[in-house]
Symmetry: D2
Subunit: 338 residues, 4 copies
């Protein structure tokens, strides 16, 4: 595909009400069209992570050529993305609370010496989706169902009895591909409400000379985290308006058979959503219907710069979730290794 | 080195008091002999992780040949290794408490529908060293000092102001080498109190035809986790008697310039310790004096079997800590990729 | 009623299977017979606490004659009643985790001085029913209903939308009456499985020369906490076999119109229960059907001794729940003031 | 004392720098002048709570005449006083996090029925001083000392080894006296920075015809909580500017021998403080030097209205701390019973 001038893309910005015309029927049709239930057997708990083959992993490892490692995590602390102002209702998530169980000041004060060792120890209290994180397959339900058609009642206060995040513990390794949409559009970062269309995804591939394929971990940069860091406030980030994938991208992802999709936004999809009668319609389909693992709040600035510099937008991607039994999400320190 | 019969190793078992003759003077001498303070500059916060070069990472990636991924983590849940009976004083660690903030039963009950999305969310409360974990460089002090000679008072109730675990966020990648000591000695797992001597480390290398070198992540299997899993109880595990590295191994590790050391025990070093006048003397030196990153409570059974099967004890090792700002440890889902 | 020799009571001990003959039908009949739904209006969220009148409070205050205060709470700490061994499935409760946010060792180390004040601060993580506690009216459901016939779906992961413990914040004051059953039966404490029958309750009143009446906070001593403290282990306490109220006591309590019932056991009612087809059948009726506030794990030893000494088994009882919005229980430091 | 017109009080408002002239020397002099160390023996852990005699409690109970109970607690929830904007550095406190361990939606969904009981259970995570609370005697240090001259190193990450809040478990009962300063001054609530002088305390007594005496729980109303509730924001409350007691009130309280002091502000004393070289100078003296128990963030609106209505500013005060072992503070549901 010949590269295209930024100005020539059809702009869809959902801040404008005319771009919020998606209906419940569209969502239902997508559910029918994109459903992967049973595709990997009736007992499957991994969904699209099944697309990654051993050969893909071997090939991905070969992309490590300069020995450079990029952490795609924000640090987990009180300065994290929760707690900012929002016009949307809160979800009860908060920044990690890190507390010490023993300290160097204890050591200095001599109060540990009866143990014959001076050490510090600590503890964290954290919503599993408070920062850079994976959505597990138990995170979103479609009507009374979760991934693979399991009854949503398998996710109780005792956790997810099916498809808990621990099931992915030896997955989350493969080829990562970064599609840098602001770079495509000649912007520092995308404005809130901008929907990333399939046309743009195609164009980004062409622009970057990379092709997303079966089993890839697709990482879509919007620049949203960077915009908030530059503004020195997370106001409006968590749950707020944001650039993000258009609903139609579900078909694109389905066709490409990606293993997972990751962005630097709070919720992957464009906000305001393309509809007012469902909240996060893309999620309704991606997670329970397609079985797609979704990564959010990734920090992509350094990786994007490096990719631009060396022209290589593919790398070994290793992003192991913490195997917390029955969890529907997990904080993660994802690595891109080039 | 010609391979040696298991029977010919000098057995050091600290359950026998005569093998607990290490003195405070020995520890002080080791501190002097093995001190790496200033080696990587007066502002260093990474210690021996500095041994890993970009070339090492590229070389390690080339070890990925069959696309097989091993998670070396135990699942994080109420069945974890904390809370077992112990004859030693408790440290206040407990198994992770995983609680749900929204559930599939909420969804089923219709109480989420006002949000126009049905989802589950969760939260964890966990001591950072309650399961498979990294010790950070702020975890242990030597007298009034931490790694690199920083004042131990830099680790306050506000966390570690120096060398917090988040500083390692783009490290913890390189060549992993497994030394399987029970395999060397013809045992399923090692008995409590058995000290792994330098002679055994050398012999394991010879036996496995692998050589530990600068920048490696050395993983020493004792079989201790497996013994407890087989016994279906963690009694005696956390803080209890265990096989583990002899104090003299510090010199071996120093000479080999490993990046980190990992075991499947609670505390790496042999317990009872080789002395009664210090607690965990190996830790006194390894962490604050050498700046060694230490991994504990790793699950090594499957990896060990595979290594035995294919005769390859080296692999790409990726074990990113959660970058919790100021933390002195971190739960981790470490991956060995072959 | 003339006092009766201990030997003359009919002994019901549910460790013997023949005393576990209660049926689901009995429970259903009790639900019908004892239902207080609507008794205090369709919007009531307080249940039997409504029995306490202002005059009762004035009268109760007059019982304060020697200015002696008894705390009926166990201390909240790691030595609390959770975590003991049990043959019954665990409920996920654990002892309080108390952590420090700033310390005197910080102060001593000088690291707080930039604040121009030296102070300590702390935090607790605790299941609300891990120690001495009130059961709120949202704690137990009868079929799909909670107290007053509210739909059980009003208790979601967002808490109890109806009858949260905070609704009791200016209640929990009135006349307390202690019935000391071991004293009646000439025992130090009651054996596991012993059911406290209505005959025994009547006899205890006669023996102690006190009459339980409308609006009273009835405190029934079994000695179970003391037995465990004497044994220096909580094994078998939380969720284990215990002495406790017989199912028939529901009628007695209903007739007497008590405001609340409190015991020194984990779960008020006798265990094993008088049936195997429901778990805690007394709770099925007491809380959702009658709207009875229930106190558990109270420490009664000192109060009981004092009552025996001065022959007065009535006192001012003040046991304010922490008004945690939407909570279904609350830790409490209940006071008996004589 | 004849009552005085509001206009005639000398106004001290620390928003004006000229009213911030207190020096470190003044604080040191107060420490010397007001020190109660040893007053109740060298092992005392209760401080001024010792002023309350049994006779005081009996007398206080007699103040219960209409059977009306006032809870002086704010509800503990996400809408609490933490998290507001502040120009002062944060202390790491946050509003309570209340999570459910089992729910009515679980019940409705049938997932609890294998237990043969349908119930809900819950858990709280809360800084002990996040809402209506007692400061324990381990909360503030004077140089290297805490109350009674104990070494401040007795408060470690393991909690307060001396004078933990649990030591007060059968105290916190006595005569409560409300002094309503806004009523005295003819205001709805006091402005930030207004210092309540000894002259005002005396005048409030005269105005209300009540006399504060030995062993009283003195409750000083400023209206600050009400001002924030009216403004529908806690911005500026926690740690922010506020009306409050003048430093000189320490002498007044010392002379009157009160058991404890309580206000409806975050930190009792006037803010900005009367000095810039110490932070919370009143606390430096009140807690570690005098051994005074201090209550903060009390809700006094309803009580104040009732006192105004019936002209009685004294009542039975019962405010039992949760006996969390080693805690330096405690949430509380304080009751005033009239």
């Amino acid at each position: 595909m010949p590269s295209k001038s930024p100005a020539s893309f059809k702009v869809v910005n959902t801040l404008d009400a005319k771009h919020r015309k998606l209906t419940r029927k569209d969502v239902q049709a997508a559910a029918k069209r994109l459903k992967n239930w049973g595709r990997w057997g009736k007992d499957d708990e991994l969904g699209t992570l099944n697309f990654v083959s051993a050969a893909d992993i071997v090939a991905a490892a070969k992309l490590v050529r300069k020995g450079k490692v990029f952490s795609l995590a924000l640090d987990f602390d009180a300065k994290g993305p929760q707690g900012g102002k929002s016009k949307y209702p809160a979800l009860g998530r908060f920044n990690p609370v890190h507390v010490m169980l023993r300290t160097g000041t204890d050591a200095y004060s001599g109060v540990l010496d009866h143990r014959k060792i001076r050490g510090a120890d600590d503890l964290v209290i954290m919503p599993l989706q408070c920062g850079t994180q994976w959505d597990g397959l138990g995170h979103i339900f479609y009507e009374d169902f979760m991934w693979n058609g399991y009854d949503c009642r398998t996710v109780t206060t005792a956790g997810a009895q099916k498809a808990g995040i621990e099931k992915t513990k030896d997955r989350m390794v493969g080829r990562g591909v970064l599609l840098d949409i602001p770079a495509l559009l000649g912007k520092k970062w995308l404005p809130d409400g901008l929907a990333i269309t399939n046309e743009m995804l195609d164009a980004a591939e062409a622009h970057q000379k990379v092709k997303v394929k079966r089993g890839d971990y697709l990482i879509v940069r919007t620049g949203h985290v960077e915009a908030k860091l530059a503004a020195k406030t997370w106001d409006g980030y968590s749950g707020g308006d944001a650039p993000g994938l258009a609903f139609e991208s579900l078909d694109w992802l389905h066709k490409r058979q990606v293993a997972a999709v990751v962005t630097d936004t709070w919720g992957v999809e464009v906000r305001p959503n393309e509809t007012e009668d469902t909240n996060q319609p893309w999620h309704w389909i991606a997670i329970p219907i397609m079985g797609l693992s979704v990564g959010e709040i990734f920090y992509l600035a350094d990786l994007a710069k490096d990719c631009k510099r060396d022209g290589r937008y593919e790398f070994l991607f290793v992003a192991p979730a913490l195997p917390i039994t029955g969890a529907v999400g997990s904080p993660v320190n994802p690595l891109a290794i080039k």
